[in-house]
């Protein structure tokens, strides 16, 4: 379980995140949505422990985040960013192995190598191994990073819940890669992983999320635990867009049409 108590974040006099408390149930796919500047990235960074909040506390498994070492945190949660800027040539297999850095000192163990193999298999990135990372397409690069991040929080039987943060992971990917990546993340929920993702596409969120948090002006304004709770009033209030909600039936998720 991951929870935040009364966290807020200010830069000078500007409040980027209003005081808020929120918790994330284990093994579920949580999505955070909202317009630009709503504070989505801020709250994600604070939850992932890379940005200290101006006040409030974060708890991983009911223990305060500041009581863990940086390496312990790295073994509990991984973050996939939208894009990476890599300046040097590097083999894709070395890139994936970076996910195991919190686990070995100088030389990766057999387990580390096996986990990297499994993670790349899950992402169907085996045929990209031993290539130079910089020769890959954007979608292939993101596959490699996702493999790396899965390797970082791979469940090896400790049965301890881990957290996967996705910071706009699919914004620049094509349709197929978007769905593949989110489907993998969704499947990971069955392997003891809790997903917290920022997504921009409402319909993509409705398709994969177990719960959606809507943010606006630094606060969480709506929260839905079921896709059918989505209304055009919420969309209007959060994004200032007129829309219709369509229900295709046959057990399919509702779709927002603009």
């Amino acid at each position: 379980m991951l929870s935040a108590e009364n966290i807020f974040f200010k830069v000078d006099s500007k409040t980027l995140l209003q005081e808020t408390s929120v918790s994330f149930e284990e093994k579920r796919f949580h999505v955070i949505m909202g317009p630009n500047g709503a504070g989505k990235s801020t709250i994600l960074k604070i939850l992932a422990g890379s940005q200290k909040p101006s006040g409030g506390k974060i708890f991983f498994h009911n223990k305060e985040l500041s009581q863990y070492s940086q390496n312990e945190i790295a073994r509990m949660r991984a973050v996939l960013s939208q894009q990476y800027n890599i300046t040097f040539p590097i083999a894709t297999s070395d890139m994936v192995m970076m996910g195991r850095y919190p686990y070995f000192k100088t030389v990766p163990s057999k387990t580390d190598k096996e986990i990297c193999k499994k993670a790349t298999a899950v992402m169907q990135a085996e045929d990209l191994m031993e290539r130079d990372y910089n020769t890959l397409s954007g979608g292939e690069m993101q596959k490699i990073h996702m493999s790396r991040i899965l390797a970082q929080i791979w469940d090896t039987g400790e049965n301890e819940n881990r957290f996967l943060f996705l910071d706009e992971p699919v914004s620049h990917l094509d349709l197929k890669y978007q769905h593949q990546l989110l489907q993998v993340a969704k499947d990971m929920c069955k392997r003891n992983i809790t997903v917290i993702a920022i997504l921009h596409d409402v319909n993509l969120s409705l398709a994969y999320a177990d719960r959606i948090l809507f943010m606006k002006q630094g606060r969480i304004t709506y929260e839905i635990g079921d896709q059918n709770e989505i209304t055009s009033a919420i969309i209007k209030d959060v994004f200032d867009m007129d829309s219709f909600i369509m229900n295709p039936g046959n057990g399919r998720k509702p779709v927002v049409v603009f």
Binding site: A48, S50, S69, Q70, N71, E72, I73, A74, R75, R77, A78, V79, S81, Y84, N85, I86, T87, F88, P89, I90, A91, D94, M98, G99, Y101, P102, K105, T106, E130, R131, D132, Y133, N134, T135, Q152
Partner: protein, 354 residues
Amino acid sequence: MNKLSFRFYYIGLSVILMISLIISARVGAVNISYSDIMTFLGHKLGITQDNNPDSIQQALFFQIRLPRVILCAFVGAALSVSGALMQALFRNPIVEPGLVGTSAGAAFGAAFVFVFGSSLAGPFADFIGPFLLPSFAFIGGLVATLLVYRLSSVFGKTNVNTMLLAGIAINALAIGGTGFFSYIAKDPQARSITFWNLGTISGADWPAVELVGASTIIGILVCIRYSKQLNALLLGETEAGYLGINAEKLKMKVILINTFIVAMATSIVGVIGFLGLIVPHLLRMMKSSDNRFLIIASALLGAILLNFADMVSRILVAPSEFPIGIITAFVGAPVFLFILINNSRKQQQGGFYA
């Protein structure tokens, strides 16, 4: 990516280094034959009996040629490893100790000692004299590097553009200061500053070898321990943080070690540019950006290249000699430009080398 193992590179480069050391030890104002070198070494090690020791040649070999060749190898290793470290740290392939102010700062500190050293040390000259030059070079290098680093870091993140500009400014300041010292200096000192600013290995003796050798070896051994963390930095500082690495702490440690090895080398041989830029470049293209490999292989390749440069500097205008910094710049800059153009033509898409 090429399939040859890291070990293949280490062994190959070590063999080339040994050969280059032997060739380099042979040539110069006075040529020494290989058989003589073998005899001298054999004798020194007590393997062979010395029938007819040519005392002048032998003294030349042990007192001048050998320390020079070994010093040269250590300096080449120090500068190249420093280049690899700085590039990993700033995540930029065009960083080297000359660019972020380390060399110029160390040169400034050393110039200060050249001019004021005797009055500074005073009656304790015998005791602190030998440490004066390296310490001031270290302080100068550290102050300059930290200034550039601080100026280019806003909210704990390094901005590369600002860093390059700050580097230019701090370099100009340090070079100006060094120029001022040589302006007010009495003639022999001034000449020594000028020569030294161009880089020269001619001051080699065994104490110099011990100083640079010890600092370089210690520096490299410590840095290898950080190679995994430096690799993670490739992803960016925030991303390295997600892997459990404190990027700020890592930076400070690496800057300290780096300044230490560069300042020790610079205090003895002066400013030698481009080596730190080119050696890691070549290795990245040949094999890998893995920093563990880069640090070890840069040390070997840097030692080889500087040895060849020094050999050229001795042969070119023998029996006099040419400042080695001029050679590394004349060879290094065009090679660098060639690499740059060649690679941008080969592929438009992708990373810096793609």
